[in-house]
Each structure stands twice: as C-alpha cells, then as structure tokens.
Symmetry: C2
Subunit: 487 residues, 2 copies
C-alpha cells in the first residue's frame, strides 16, 4: 500500500507517498519566510512571481521586520499565520533555518522548500546544519526540497515561486517535466517563453538532503500533465530504487537523463558543490540501458530533446528519410543517424516516380531539392507534394527535413502549408532543421512549425539525434516489455 | 620553384601556383555567364551581390538574350567582352558549360567557377560532362572551382559573387577562412553578419573536379588575411599531399576540420552527391593527429570553434580555471574539459585570500559566485576584482567563465568593465557562456564581449571545448615542431 511507503527504507530515509509530494507542487496555502526587500533575489521576488504567475492559493509572507509586501500582510512569525499551511518556502540565513523548521513543525507544516544555501555544499559547519535539519525533519515526518535550491514550478496552477527575478512569471503549460540537481533549469536561468512545448513541472533538487530524483520520478509517474521527464543529475542516491522506478516509469513515459560527473574529476567537483557523492558512471550507463532511460550528452539537450517525444509519435522502424536542399547536410545526417541505429531508407517505386516527375533525379534518398529549386522557378509550388510524398512513403519510418528560409521569409507560408498537409494525415515523427542567411526568418519559420507541433532543432545533428533517441527509446521500451512478459 | 608546380602530379592533376588561385579570390575583371532574370538564384543575383558588396573590379555580364542588368551592359558572348578577363563565373545548363569553357579558353581566361549543377553528382551523363570539362581544362591550363558550387567570397576586396539571394552582401573582414565541400558555408546559408570574427575567404569546392582542399590550404597558407582555417570535407582527394601541406600549414595557422562520411553509410552518400570517394575515416583520424589538424564534430563548430583561435592566445598549460554562478555547470565543464586533457586548477594562496575576503568560500575552484550574489547586495561591485583575480592567478592557464545575464540587462556594464580590465593586461584564453531568462540581454551581452574580442559560446560545453581544442592544437604544434627539429 502506498501509505506504508512513508516508513523508512534501508538507508534510513523516508519514502514519500504521493500526498507528501503534492504539497510541493499543488499547495493551497504557502508561507514565504525570508526578506522582502526589493532586489533580484529573495522573498520579495517569490511573492511577486506567485502573484504575477496567477497562483490562486493563499500566500503568507513571514518576517518580523516587515508589515506589508506587494499588498499582502506580512506575519511576524509562522505561528501568527491564521490558517493551516501546506508548504513553507524558506530563504533565510542557513543558521536560522533549523529554528524556523521547528516553528513550521509546530505549526503542522510537513513540506519545506529550503532555498537557503550555506549547507553541505559550503563546508563542514554547513554539513552539520544540514544533518541536523534532516534528522529533525525525519523525526517529525517533514519532507524537504533543498537546501540550496531554486525551488519548484507547477504551470498547472500558476505555482511559480521563483526566488530570482526572471522578468517573466507565467510559463506555458505543456507535457515536459524538467528536474535537475541545479537551479540552471529554473525560470531565472532559462527563457521558458522560448520553449514551444511548455512545461508541466520544474524542480531543482538542490542538495537533495531529503527529496530526490526517485521521489520526483514516482510523483511524475502519476502526474497526468507530465508525458516526458527530462532529468539532470550529478549522482543517483538510491540506485536500486532508481532502477526499479525507472523501469516502471519508462514503460509509460520517456525519461531523458543528463548525468554529469562522468569523469573522476567531474565526480569530485560534484561531491564538493552539492555535498553528495556521484555514482560510478559505468553503473549509470548500465542502469540506463536496462531500464529504458534515454541518456543525454549536454546541457542544451535537457530542453531540446524532449520536444520530439512531446510532439511526435515514436518511429515504427529505423528507416530514416532525409529531405534537404544540400547534399552536404545529408551526409552529416547519415553519419549522425548511424550512431542510433537509424539507416537511410530508399524510396518506394511509386514515390520515386512522383518525385522524378517533379524534377529528374528528385526521387532518390536523400531527397535533395536544391537542384530543382535552382532550375525550376515554380519549384516551391511543388513543395507540399514533395514533403507529402516523402512522408507518406511506406519505406519511411521517420523524416529529417532540412528547410532553407529565404532572406525575406516569403517561402514560409509554402512550408507551413506543406506541414499542415501532413500534420494529421501521417503519423510519423518529423524533425526539422532550418538554415538560411537571416536569423529572423529562421526564427519566424521555426515558431510557426513548432506552433503546429513539429519540433525544430538548432543544428542538423540534434534534429537527427532527436529521431535517433526516439527510436532508441521505442526499442528499449519494447524489449523491456518483452522481458517483463517473459519474466 | 613555384612555377614548376603547375606540372602534373602522379594523379594526373595539375598543382596550382599561387598566381592561379589568386584569380579566384582577387580578380580584377570578372565575367558572369548566366541568366539575368530576377529571382533568388542566378546571374542577376551574382551581379547584384558584387555591386552591393563594393567589388571594385570590372564586371562583364554575358548572355545573348539580355542587353543590360543593374545598369551594366550585357555582352552576347564572352568573345565580345572588350577586355582581358581573370575569372569567369558560369551558371548555365550543364550541357552548355563545355562550349562556354572553350570560348573562355579562347578568350585567354584561366580560371572558372562553375556554379552549374548536373555533373558527377547527378548521374553518369553528368559524370561524363565533368570528365570532359576537366580533361579540356587540364590541356589548356585552366583551373576550375566546382562544378556544383556556390562559389567563393573574399571580404578584402568586396568580391562576393553569391549566386543565391542572401539579403545581405557586405561581410565583415576577419581572420577566419571557411572552406567546404558544400554551399552550406556560403552567404545564403549562414548569417555572416552574426559572426563576430568576420571572415577572410569563403570557398565551396563543389564537386572538386579540379581545385580541392589542398590547393586552398596552399593558397590560404600564404594569405596574410587568414589566421585560422575552418574546413568541411567529405573526403580528402590526395592524402599524401594533404598530409604534407597540413603539417606545414598547422605550424603557422590552426586548421580545424569537420570530416563527414565518418560512417560507411555516410561515406556512401557522400560518393553519390559529390561524385567523389570518401576516404576511410581512420586514415583521416591518423592524418589529423600527426599533422596537428584539429578535428571538429559537428556543423555548427565550423563557425563557432574558430572564434577562440581568432581572438585569443593559446593556453600555456592545461590548468583550467572556472568561474560560475552555479555549481552544476562547473561539473559539466570539468567533465568536458577532461576530454581534451584540461584539468581544473587550484587557486594560488594569494588569490584564495583575496576572493575569500570578498565572500567566505569564494576562493576555491570552481569560483562559484552564486552564493555571494544571493547574499551580498553589492556583490556585483566586486565582479571586476573577482574576474581579475581568477584570470591573473599564476595557476590558471585558461578560464571558462559563466555569466548570468539578468532580465533587464542592467548587469551588462559591470561585466563589460570587468572584461575591459583584463583585456590587455592578461594574455590567457577566456571563453564565456552566458545564460539567463531573457534571450535579448544574453545576445546584447554576447555582442558586447565579442566586440571586445572575447568569444562567447552557445553552450557551456562548446565554450570549454574551444579552450580544449586550443590546448590540443598548441600541444600538437609543439610536438610536431619538436619532431621536425629532431628529424
């Protein structure tokens, strides 16, 4: 039963039940304990962000030195708050956190986000403060995110208590959850308005003194608004639990993992800044391949790779179609595809005929539109036919499409029309890279296509990689299912 | 003697002398043979581009069906041009190219850029046309770039005969030459106004029927305006010559190489679209490591990696300093650095003291400014001191710096001040990554820093990689020199 899982596990930590974690993302009454001086960091920013993001719950600012902040009454202490509180956001001096946690406990609060730094990541004194805090929290059944965290976001209820000024507050809802052992994924660090998929939840684990990646995975597994999980970790605390959970979650939702501390030097650095130990990278590699977790390689991919999983179907096979304006990119794409087991397909006879009729030689893979564009004035009129034919070909399981955006952007409508025509008709993944001489038209076209649910990538290699990872995930998922059925 | 090198080599091809190649980049009188109908491709675009780019030489459009284009007289045939011509740019139907080449030869023209496609990259008929053209050219001592090329650019003399409408024409002069076996590096395909380094020369080899990477390397070796060479190749035609040349050129100028067709599938595709055979990738790998050629891994790096070589000194050692606002990026950076033999340094005792005095704990590597920024209101006032101390430390050979751009951009001036202070005082490479919630301020800060000669990268990994490649180049260069001195 879920309730029993709040008992301690072997490592002495408490397992959460879902109800515990929902307090962090779906609280009704939130206390903000910190300074309310205006600035780019602090309680003032949290309150402002919650108000601007449209959070409908109650906000209780707490600080004896203030009376009001942004039209809200400030309470001298948490005891003075005239209501039950689901979650306290704490950003005060590390040495004062323990005392405030005790007050929160007395108030019956069972969920704390400790934004404050100066704990295990700082020095031995900080580590002692952290141990003391965790010991107390466990005794009292309190769950903690952090310390040393930029906190959480839930776009479903406007719960965006970002402690740093981000300049924007509302974040589009979408199926991607982004969780990390760093605040680099929180709103002040990444321009979420640029992320076409939107996000469901954001979480910075910080020092992971209590709540960790496994707790989050378990919560997100059940979250109906999360369809893809993107994770950045320096280490995995409970390998056995992660293994079990990851296997279960990936059967439902793709989990993409960027794991740093891969090298000995990186692992050592990780230990010093979060106060936690990084796992041996070979173990992580094995865990990923056995559980269906898709491994990422760099920071940008945390945001870029989920798009394909969020928007597009998985490929049914490994036959990659490529459409391009230039052969050179075709070769780069084929090289990249080979890394993930995708191979360049050949076109069916009918498609070849259709394309060759549009322009001699067009009917071979990669479909290179360059010569036709240069030779035939009306070549762009045929673009929807060309895309439809390539996407519709029974030998194509996934398509990498290269688009040239002309300087004025006058071609954009024709491309949009072509994508519109395949949109609901053909259920195959399509990843796009746009190049050209004018960044503004590249951006405009990209936004149009992503608005229609077609992911656009910043490099040809990343577009192909997204398809490759989708194929890898599909394969892993299938073989995991097969082994489960056998076992 | 240079003159003798126009004799054929073993493979039956002619070696160029410098004079031959200068016709392609420094012509005084240029014929443009093609259509002058307005459109996004063709002779009209070439003439417009030359005029707009400020090319000071004579332009002779040639086409019997036109009288005038953009205020210039159009000559019915090349024979009618009333002057000697250094270079002909040809973009007519492939089947007519041979006849025009003959006319050019009769006119005494010894350099052709054949933009036309439909040669070896198309089919067997095209391959025959190409063979015929090459055979003729060799007999007459004519050199050819192409066919199937987007041509060349020389920023020194405004020679930008881009055959595709790019929407811009003048390109900033700078020390980077970009040469490729694809038109993906020509102005219509890449927004050069965004490239802070500027370029010296651009060249698309096209099908490489005659002029190839070795010819270009030999030319660029002597080009005083080129300090860094960025190359994209699908294959290397004359491995022995490339080896010899690369060794010589890299002793003077870094050569960065992206080689596609790495996989068997990619190599096969390469053969079909350029009509040339790709070399075995292991040979390329060996050639690079023995000649000091720095190998790149993806298309974007062709443009991004030369920046550090163009702007910054090489590192004197492998001790990497890291400054960051967040520990997570530090760990990713250390992982990346390890790939290139860079290792995280420790600070000298004096630097540590200075930094710890600014904020307790600041004086350790990576220098993490995050906690100070959150705790001390005036922390940014110290930024110039912090950067100066880290850069000036005798144990730091190269610095990776992470900057957070606040949403309003109000911090920008303080960063600029800090960079200004180290700019001429400290001769060490500095690579920067900027993150934040607002793309506009990230861009604005990046432009300011690059305007001062500090390269800014789009990802933390690419910033560290640039430093890593610079270290790798310095090492290879040194060991190559040592072996030359011994040998």
């Amino acid at each position: 039963m879920a309730g029993e899982r709040t008992l301690n596990d072997k490592s002495g930590r408490a397992y959460p039940d879902r109800d515990d974690l929902s307090r962090f993302f779906e609280p009704s009454r939130v206390a903000v304990i910190g300074s309310f001086k205006e600035g780019f960091f602090g309680g003032h920013v949290i309150v402002k962000s919650l108000l601007e993001a449209g959070f409908k719950g109650n906000i209780f600012p707490v600080n004896p030195a203030y009376e009001q902040v942004l039209g809200l009454k400030v309470y001298p202490s948490i005891k003075d708050v005239p209501a039950e509180v689901d979650l306290a956001l704490i950003m005060i001096n590390a040495r004062s956190v323990m005392r405030v946690a005790q007050e929160c406990s007395e108030k019956g609060i069972r969920a704390l986000v400790v934004v404050s730094d100066g704990f295990a990541e700082r020095d031995e004194d900080g580590a002692r403060l952290q141990d003391e805090l965790v010991g107390f929290a466990r005794k009292r059944g309190i769950r903690i995110i952090g310390p040393n965290t930029a906190g959480v976001v839930n776009t479903a209820n406007g719960f965006n208590p970002c402690p740093y000024e981000a300049g924007y507050y509302r974040i589009k809802s979408g199926p991607v959850a982004i969780c990390a052992q760093t605040g680099m994924v929180n709103p002040q660090a990444f321009p979420y308005p640029m992320l076409s998929t939107g996000v469901s939840k954001i979480c910075d684990f910080g020092n992971k003194c209590d709540l960790d990646e496994c707790d989050l995975l378990e919560y997100l597994e059940q979250d109906p608004r999360t369809a893809v999980i993107s994770l950045y970790l320096e280490g995995i605390r409970d390998g056995e639990r992660f293994f079990e959970l990851a296997r279960r979650v990936t059967a439902q939702k793709p989990v993409l993992l960027l794991k740093s501390g891969r090298t000995a030097a990186g692992a050592k650095a990780s230990a010093s800044h979060t106060g936690s130990l990084a796992a041996d990278d070979r173990i992580i590699e094995a865990v990923c391949s056995q559980t269906g977790v898709v491994r990422l390689e760099n920071f940008r991919e945390l945001f870029e790779m989920p798009k394909l999983f969020a928007f597009q179907p998985l490929p049914e096979g490994n036959r990659l179609g490529i459409m391009t304006f230039t052969g050179g990119v075709g070769v780069l794409a084929i090289d990249e595809a080979a890394k993930y087991g995708l191979r360049l397909t050949t076109l069916g006879a009918r498609s070849s005929r259709v394309l060759d009729k549009i322009f001699p030689g067009l009917g071979t893979m990669p479909v290179d539109i360059g010569p036709a564009m240069a030779a035939v004035r009306e070549a762009f009129d045929h673009y929807p036919d060309i895309l439809g034919t390539a996407m519709g070909d029974g030998r194509v399981d996934a398509l990498f499409n290269v688009l040239w955006a002309n300087p004025s952007g006058s071609i954009i409508e024709r491309y949009v029309e072509a994508y519109e025509a395949v949109r609901n008709r053909i259920r195959k993944p399509l990843a796009t890279w746009i190049y050209g001489p004018n960044p503004a038209t590249i951006k405009a076209l990209g936004e149009r296509l992503e608005g229609m649910g077609f992911p656009v990538y910043e490099t040809p290699e990343s577009a192909v990689k997204a398809l490759g990872l989708a194929w890898r995930y599909r394969n892993m998922k299938e073989s995991a299912q097969a082994s489960t059925e056998q076992g």
